[in-house]
């Protein structure tokens, strides 16, 4: 069986600054992998490289066995690669329901239609409402996104990604900016995701990481520092050193 996502030897530089250094990682179908690392390790850059928001200097990316390295962001998204953003990227002036309907419309190619009215497709509306219902957002369906509290907006981020019916989902700090009293709601959603979707989650909260992930990749200064099961990572002294020493020096020898 081909892996859902295979990243091999990915490099990216901004001028002289190499932000991604020979990164390889694999997501099997239905994988639950966490990507951790200190601030500035290049986690979000890696997500941008995988989704095509940035193009790699070298290396390859395969989605379900197909080489997508040269494809645009749009083409990758339509092949089943979805992401959420660390800082909300939503259609703030539109209602929650419209946010989801638009996603479905773009996914299924309805948005090429200039003539038929958007509301005439009952199937789309029903599917959108199903997505909202699964995230308990139905009551907010007709509210404009900007009227919602931040935590609910984070759920809309996830709802949009799910409405893309992705094979691979990249979650960039889904609970970032949400008060801890509400973050459990988001993490419940993450924990309850369809087991067929391969998920890569960037997260700082170690409790979440250890609870959610079957595998962990540690990224330091743009390179894969180590990979392993949660138990292995937890026991790894060097990882601890990197995390504890992130404000000062980076410990001694790298493994």
């Amino acid at each position: 069986m081909t892996a859902a996502l295979e990243v091999e030897g990915l490099n990216r530089s901004f001028g002289a600054l190499q932000v991604t250094h020979d990164v390889s990682l694999t997501l099997e179908r239905g994988a639950r992998r966490a990507l951790i690392g200190p601030n500035g390790a290049g986690k979000t850059t890696l997500v941008n490289l995988i989704t095509g928001a940035l193009m790699p200097s070298s290396g390859s990316i395969r989605l379900n066995g197909e080489d997508i390295t040269k494809l645009s962001q749009e083409e990758r998204a339509r092949r089943g690669l979805a992401r959420t953003f660390q800082i909300n990227q939503l259609f703030r002036g539109l209602t929650v329901l419209e946010n989801i309907c638009m996603t479905i419309g773009e996914r299924d190619g309805h948005c090429n239609n200039l003539w038929r009215s958007a509301g005439a497709r009952r199937v789309v509306i029903d599917e959108a409402l199903d997505h909202l219902e699964s995230l308990r957002l139905v009551d907010d369906a007709l509210k404009e996104v900007r009227e919602l509290p931040y935590g609910r907006q984070r759920l809309v981020e996830i709802a949009i990604a799910l409405a893309q019916k992705p094979r691979v989902l990249l979650l960039d700090e889904p609970a970032a900016g949400v008060p801890s009293s509400e973050s459990h709601l988001i993490l419940d959603v993450v924990a309850g995701l369809d087991p067929d979707i391969a998920v890569l989650i960037i997260e700082h909260d170690m409790d979440v990481v250890f609870r959610f992930a079957q595998a962990i990749t540690v990224l330091v200064q743009g390179a894969v520092f180590t990979q392993g099961t949660p138990a292995e990572i937890m026991a790894n002294e060097q990882v601890k050193a990197v995390y504890l020493g992130q404000d000062g020096h980076h410990g001694g020898g790298h493994g």
Binding site: Q89, R107, S117, D130, H131, S134, V138
Partner: protein, 431 residues
């Protein structure tokens, strides 16, 4: 289904209700509302009430059409442009040159030719320009319009340069309707074209494609991430808007029977932008209100003070962008809502207790109504063209009556809403 129920919600019946309401909202949104008949009724009424001002009326209709084309790209897709006159000019010169140089004088086929030429210009320039956004795009659109203008200037042997091509001849519309001295045929012709194009634009705006455009306006990064072919969408709408601007330009030439290079001027691009912002962007009818208010004001003010009239327009624009960001139409929309409810009608609590009624909200709305009444009364008095109810348009004191009528009307609408909400509310939805 991708997701799972996290837990059972606050009652299935409530959720089913919420689902139903949400679906109904989208299902109904594109339907025609009674208020949408209003601009058309006014346009038709104007034909009978101001029979001697039809040339001016045609100009208003042409600019409405032009402003609608701009609304499609600016209001919906969020494309900022200062070169929209380029397409207006291409359309205007297509029928002008066709008539003067080729003897092609049939008006309706002229409109189609203008649409095609302008669409071509829109497609080619859009393909290159729409990779950029913001200030860069603003400068590039401006530069494009200037380049087209200077091309026309360079070949003034063909285009007539800034002296233009006066005395153009066009066949009667549909071979039947001759042009008259008062421009009545022109007015009805322009109104018919406007209606057809507007219907077309309205379909687009409410289509999934139109939705995608608002998505691009709201958040282009997200559109890329959900797999939208953003550049293709933008080029498509830019081409359509260019075609419509071309039709407007062609109508301009046909109804005036002349055209000069001023149609390409920066002034033309800026003017249509001001009109649209005055009326309100991204709401279709903003173009109607903006173009009408701008041109009527220009007409009156330039009579009052031929050298100083732009001052009035300046003040109006200033007030609009400072206090009414969504334009005049936005203010009117607010009037229809109960201000102190802060939300929409559907969030209204189930029961209205009269002692709880926010009279202050009604008062504020009535004040807005009074302002509008005052404006209408003022305009009517300055115009003094209507002979039907002479007191209301010639007697200065009548302005007070207009003001009172506006206030009363808006207050009545608000109280009407209250009663309506009380009757139709099905259950309370605490915010």
């Amino acid at each position: 289904m991708a997701g799972n129920d996290i837990s059972s919600g606050p009652g299935n019946a409530g959720r089913a209700q919420a689902r139903h309401e949400a679906a109904e909202f989208l299902l109904r949104r594109h339907r025609f509302r009674p208020a949408e008949a209003l601009p058309w009724l006014i346009a038709i009424a104007a034909f009978f009430v101001f029979p001697d001002r039809m040339t001016f009326g045609s100009q208003v209709l042409v600019m409405i059409l032009f402003a609608i084309s701009l609304d499609l790209i600016l209001g919906y897709a969020g494309i900022v442009t200062l070169g929209h006159a380029a397409f207006f000019g291409v359309g205007a010169y297509t029928v002008g040159l066709a008539s003067a140089r080729l003897g092609w004088t049939e008006p309706i086929s002229g409109l189609f030719a203008a649409a095609i030429m302008a669409a071509l210009a829109g497609f080619i320039s859009g393909w290159f320009l729409l990779r950029y956004r913001g200030l860069t795009l603003l400068m590039l659109t401006l530069a494009t319009a200037i380049m087209i203008l200077e091309t026309g200037n360079f070949r003034s042997d063909i285009t007539g340069g800034y002296d233009g091509m006066p005395g153009l001849v066009f066949q009667p519309v549909l071979g039947m309707f001759e042009y008259d001295l008062y421009g009545r045929t022109n007015y009805l012709y322009a109104l018919a074209v406007l209606a057809v194009v507007f219907f077309f634009v309205r379909r687009i705006v409410y289509s999934p494609f139109g939705q995608a455009l608002t998505g691009i306006r709201e958040n282009v990064r997200r559109m890329h991430a959900i797999g939208s072919p953003v550049h293709r969408r933008l080029v498509t709408v830019y081409t359509i808007a260019a075609a419509i601007a071309g039709v407007a330009g062609a109508l301009f030439t046909q109804t005036n029977a002349y055209v000069t290079l001023t149609v390409f001027d920066f002034d033309t691009s800026a003017k249509v932008l001001v009109m649209l912002i005055l009326g309100g962007t991204g709401r279709l009818y903003g173009a109607f209100i903006g173009a009408a208010v701008y041109l009527i004001l220009e007409d009156h003010l330039s009579k009052l003070s031929p050298t100083f009239w732009q001052f009035g327009i300046g003040i109006l624009l200033l007030v609009t962008v400072l206090f009414a960001r969504r334009g005049i139409l936005g203010v009117i929309e607010d009037l229809g809502r109960f201000r102190s409810w802060k939300g929409r009608i559907r969030m209204v609590p189930g029961r209205i207790v009269w002692s709880n009624v926010q009279w202050k909200g009604i008062g504020m709305a009535a004040f807005d109504g009074a302002l509008i009444g005052l404006a209408v009364g003022f305009a009517a008095n300055v115009g003094r063209t209507n002979l039907l109810w002479s007191w209301f348009v010639t007697e200065p004191l009548s302005v007070l009556a207009w003001t009172a009528a506006g206030a009363a009307l808006v207050a009545a609408i608000n109280i009407g809403y209250l009663v309506y909400a009380e009757r139709s509310a099905t259950g309370s939805t605490p915010r």
